[in-house]
């Protein structure tokens, strides 16, 4: 233990820094749509792709994306995982979680979501129901805050 006593010490501190992120016109309108249970993308006039969430400009063509498109609330699972450990921001009672990326019908991107609506504590059941290429649809919360979490989860379409 002598060695422990001689070990150079540390000093503890906690810093917090609040912030306020400006959404700009495009994402403001996108979240207004979410409040009304609508998912909006925008279309690039050059490459024709529809991206979700709606974008002010196309990341590849660098052109404005001014055409608004209400997209389907159903889509295909591109990938998924099963979180069974507590990461920062996840409390014990929040795991397991089944995150997925979902390609909504008529769009050219995939978007993060969480799969639910059944007993996800059972990994084998999750692995049976959740498949790459499987179909899901959005399930909305009753109370909307105009944020991504207004989609409570994505329900597997059997």
């Amino acid at each position: 233990m002598a060695e422990e006593k001689e070990r150079p010490r540390t000093i503890e501190a906690v810093g917090t820094a609040p912030f306020e992120m400006a959404l700009g016109p495009t994402w403001t309108r996108f979240f207004e749509g979410i409040k009304e249970e609508k998912i909006f993308g925008t279309r690039c006039k050059k490459c024709g792709r529809v991206l979700v969430p709606a974008r002010p400009f196309c990341p590849r063509c660098f052109e404005p994306m001014e055409e608004w498109v209400e997209v389907a609330q159903e889509g295909t699972i591109v990938t998924w995982s099963y979180i069974d450990y507590t990461y920062f921001g996840l409390e014990d009672d929040m795991i397991p979680v089944v995150p997925a990326t979902i390609k909504l019908d008529g769009t050219d991107t995939s978007w993060w979501g969480v799969i639910g609506g059944f007993d996800i504590k059972d990994f084998d059941l999750v692995a049976k129901k959740v498949k790459v290429g499987g179909r899901v649809k959005a399930v909305w919360r009753k109370e909307k805050r105009g944020c991504v979490q207004d989609i409570e989860y994505w329900k597997v379409i059997e």
Partner: protein, 387 residues
């Protein structure tokens, strides 16, 4: 490319939990080791490049202010560059450009991280904005989902991917045990890896890298200076770096274009047409064993969709056709801001016969690589024993 550039010295700390030293002390440990290796003094340095993860990982913004003294940057030009996990490749490229352009003759490049001084997970959660992309679970989830996307895209059987990932983990942990500087120096059996608890499906506990403290320094010199100072410089043969869109779903992560394009660019510059045959060593950025499978494909070391078969056949294991991560890789050591530079330092050590216990006999050409962002960036640097 501009002027030829050689690596004349590298230095690393002992990696691991390093609360025995202050952060500047840690940085200086790597810097001093590089000076000793190169046989030059701080006065010979024309400029300093530094990079780390977001510096609040260690509780302060702009941590290079804190380390300026430890890098002996007083009175010299200093630059900071960072691209998350690929920071080590970004700062190396910055240093090479500086020398290659003729703006400097000798440049010191330093990457570091002290993950135990802050909350690495909390910092990771600030890398994406928290409103448009829900990224619960941080880096492990992002990269596990990428692995699952790859398995789904190529219809790779779960058991086959799991076995191949386990082989990579076993090989890396064996190599780490053989590297005196590695953080994790413990061997595991394939069965232990395959049966470890799931962290973020499909990734299991022993498929994941540790959180490490550590630093790495690399000294780059112009051809003229390198030949004068160093008997065996490691020559920079090719470099490539590519970025992708911010939104993860905007591009395929199974056929990972930034890794494909960055390596193609580097091979083109290096005149390499068959990388698996021509390279002697590859130091691949593998924080997750499954990701290495994808990199083997995207870096052109085996056909797309076939990495699991090649790994199971032993092609990338010790004694196989191409040795991968003889240092133990990221799976055994991950001080993130240093990690990509450690890949390059290890590659340089291999082609100059300085790799000690982990030396691959007769290595002449080596690839180093790093990946960063939420699957957004890939960087590659190839070094060789001949100009």
């Amino acid at each position: 490319m501009g002027r030829a550039v050689g690596i004349i010295g590298t230095g690393q700390t002992k990696h691991g939990r390093r609360d025995d030293v202050s952060y500047p002390d840690l940085v200086r440990e790597a810097v001093n080791a590089a000076f000793e290796d190169a046989g030059i003094t701080p006065e010979d340095i024309d400029g300093v490049v530094f990079g780390s993860m977001p510096s609040m990982m260690e509780g302060m913004a702009y941590n290079h202010f804190y380390f300026a003294d430890a890098m002996r940057a007083v009175g010299k030009p200093i630059l900071r560059a960072e691209t998350c996990g690929s920071t080590g490749q970004s700062i190396a490229h910055t240093g090479v450009h500086w020398v290659s352009s003729g703006m400097a003759d000798i440049v010191l490049v330093v990457g570091s991280e002290k993950q135990h001084e802050g909350d690495a997970q909390a910092t990771m959660m600030t890398i994406l904005e928290p409103f448009l992309q829900l990224s619960a679970g941080g880096a492990p989830v992002a990269f596990s989902m990428q692995s699952r996307e790859w398995m789904g895209y190529y219809h790779i059987a779960e058991e086959k991917a799991r076995e191949a990932a386990a082989i990579i983990s076993v090989d890396c942990h064996n190599a780490g045990a053989n590297n005196p500087l590695a953080h994790i120096r413990k061997r595991f059996t394939k069965e232990e890896v395959m049966n470890a608890p799931i962290i973020t499906y499909p990734v299991r506990l022993l498929d994941v890298c540790p959180s490490s403290d550590g630093a790495c320094a690399v000294i780059f010199a112009s051809e003229e200076k390198a030949k004068k100072i160093c008997e065996t410089p490691a020559w920079v043969k090719g470099m490539g770096f590519r970025g992708e869109e911010y939104f993860i779903g905007d591009s395929s992560k199974a056929v990972w274009q930034s890794a494909i394009e960055a390596s193609r660019e580097a091979y083109k510059q290096a005149g390499i047409t068959n990388p698996r045959k021509e390279l002697d060593v590859a130091e691949i950025y593998n924080p997750f064993s499954y990701q290495e499978l994808m990199f083997l494909e995207c870096l052109g070391l085996c056909p797309l969709g076939k990495a699991a078969d090649y790994v199971i056949d032993g092609v990338f294991s010790p004694g196989g056709e191409l040795s991968c991560d003889p240092s133990g890789g990221v799976l055994c050591t991950n001080p993130i801001g240093a990690t990509g530079l450690i890949r390059l330092a290890e590659a340089a050590m291999q082609v100059t016969g300085k790799a000690g216990s982990r030396q691959i006999e007769g290595a002449k050409l080596a690839l180093s690589h790093a990946m960063g962002g939420a699957e957004q960036f890939n960087g590659v640097t190839i070094v060789g024993s001949e100009l």
